[in-house]
Symmetry: none
């Protein structure tokens, strides 16, 4: 037999903690605020979590787990046969992930801001690193398949691309109303693929390169 009261208590506390952490960050969040918002006692909090940090960790870990599940789900799709199929798949994946960002924007902001605590500042980098790591094999595969140019320093290219993704993601999650994610991600894809150079300037670019 489950003990629903118990489960609900933890769920309530987690929900409240999520809000309070998202608003105040780890350091400035007070356990009192969390329990008051959850309508639970302080004792209940420590019944379910070892410490304030533990609750924070649990929330962040859950977020990361769901995020990675979402990303992996996208990543596991096979390289499409045709170029246009490839683009369609890619775009669908991006949209899926940006939808996740939007759904979890409060927590994603907290993540991007390192939990607003020195102790979790590493989260920001860790997330970026992980994104890059996740991106690399797909990128290399695309290069190998002749879909992407091979005259780039792949590491740097990845860095740039993931930077663009992260930058856009940061923008999206701080909006108040939901933007047209499909449009944004399509532009992002197009930007990555075609660049901004006008034909006239393209000559200059080639000149400029050795």
């Amino acid at each position: 037999m489950a003990r629903p009261a118990d489960r609900n208590a933890k769920v309530d506390l987690l929900a409240a903690a999520e809000v309070v952490f998202a608003e105040h960050g780890l350091d400035q969040a007070r356990v009192d605020d969390i329990t008051a918002r959850a309508g639970k006692s302080k004792g209940a909090f420590y019944l379910h979590f070892e410490s304030k940090e533990d609750a924070f960790r649990e929330i962040i870990e859950s977020l990361l787990a769901r995020l990675h599940a979402c990303v992996r789900e996208q990543a596991d799709a096979p390289l499409a046969a045709s170029p246009s199929e490839y683009l369609r798949t890619w775009h669908a994946k991006d949209l899926e992930i940006f939808e996740f960002f939007w759904q979890n924007r409060r927590l994603m902001r907290l993540l991007f801001e390192g939990g607003r605590s020195a102790d979790y500042a590493y989260l920001t980098d860790a997330f970026a690193e992980r994104s890059r790591a996740q991106m690399e094999p797909q990128f290399r595969a695309a290069v190998a398949a002749g879909l992407l140019r091979d005259d780039f320093d792949v590491n740097i290219a990845i860095r740039l691309v993931s930077g663009a993704y992260e930058g856009v993601a940061r923008d999206v999650i701080r909006l108040d109303t939901k933007p047209d994610l499909a449009h944004i991600t399509r532009q992002l894809q197009r930007f990555i693929l075609t660049g901004l150079a006008s034909p006239m300037l393209r000559t200059g670019v080639l000149e400029n390169d050795r």
Copy 2:
């Protein structure tokens, strides 16, 4: 005639505060740590700063002032005559700014991480916003001059480009050894200008666009 002010006192304190804030963030930095590191007394700290936050603000404001001075200096250069001149100028500007990032990487990280305190989380966004604002007129000028394509949503393009810059900047400032900034910025420029699409894929891209 009085015991002369230790002209270095404030400088020492600021230097120590910079280190401590960079390491622990605003909330977890202890005034004791700062003064101990500076070899000064606690009283000395409050002789020069109204409060812990005041010292933090002073450090951040100084960083932002120097940063904006650096950016403005770059921005004020006129649009170059020839495309290749334009590219050279652009690259030089970027390099200058990335040098600044590298020189001040400890503080830039703190800035990017919102002071690691809920109270200054806005810094992250404020900086991104400002960067975008600074970029916009230059971008539009380049489009008007036929240097950049005009079939992009400019706002989104700026968002993407500034995202790429920010992402790369975040990467750079967390390295332990100085990377080849000229290389990175050149790749960044080239990436922005030419994109990643292979000729074969380029067709797909065009197809994909309505």
Copy 3:
């Protein structure tokens, strides 16, 4: 179901605070002293009071409330029919109030000494002012009833009488052993009514007045 509130906690803290404030005044009283004396933790103090000053205020306000209740109770009695009844009633009232002073002599001293803090120095005057205000209607009624002389400047007479009361009260509350309050108040009453002049001098006094 919870660890039940130590119903005595606040009472203990107030009792301890009373002693410590009475001994050291507001400024020099240390919260540590209060909690140590109460056998409570520092946290417990802030569980019941907003601040040190808040506890002080509560103590003083309670004293004033009880004092005014006592005074009002006396004041509400009607003017007696006969002179001797009037005197008896008056004396009984005084005795009641002086008993209150004696019972609360530690706090009354603190009150008379303005909480031994610049912030509450006004208490001394406020109390005197209030006493005078309370006395005035009774005084005027007694004059109207022909019980008291009408050839005095009433305001000054009240000032003198309340001064005498206050002076005697200040004396009484700093004694170590309880004096014969009935005797003192009777003498005080007699003094107010008849003065000290010997018959021989009385003539001179009356001459002296215009």
Copy 4:
């Protein structure tokens, strides 16, 4: 040769200290305030005084010395020959002392309020005690001379009289504009000598006494 600069410095500091102590009491007065008001350095303060308390003591002692000089001057006058001469002399003495109170009202308030510090709360009582002590021989002499009634408990009578004086003094020194001190002291004297009872009540009072 005197060192006028030095002397002036101390005088300036004392004057400033007087104002600051009178306003904030001992505990809440800051040495900084005193030196700033005096236009001197903190070093100068400690050149002339051992400590903040020392300066306070010096000010209070000076006040008491001048006060006692004034009182003694009055006290040393011989008992006058005739009753009316006695009354005139007494009144003149009182007026002199009340003039002193008025001249030094800021400091007298501080004195009456125990320096607004637990450490000097005793001043209030010490002053009252001393006043009583000073009054006693004169009182007894007057009784012996048949000028004052002898059917009073002398100690209590003194207490009452000095209480009345103290009460009136407290009133006077907190006024903003100088009152008619001669009038007040005359009324005070008359009150002490004759009391307030109407002829009608006097009968009852005498009955009431055993």
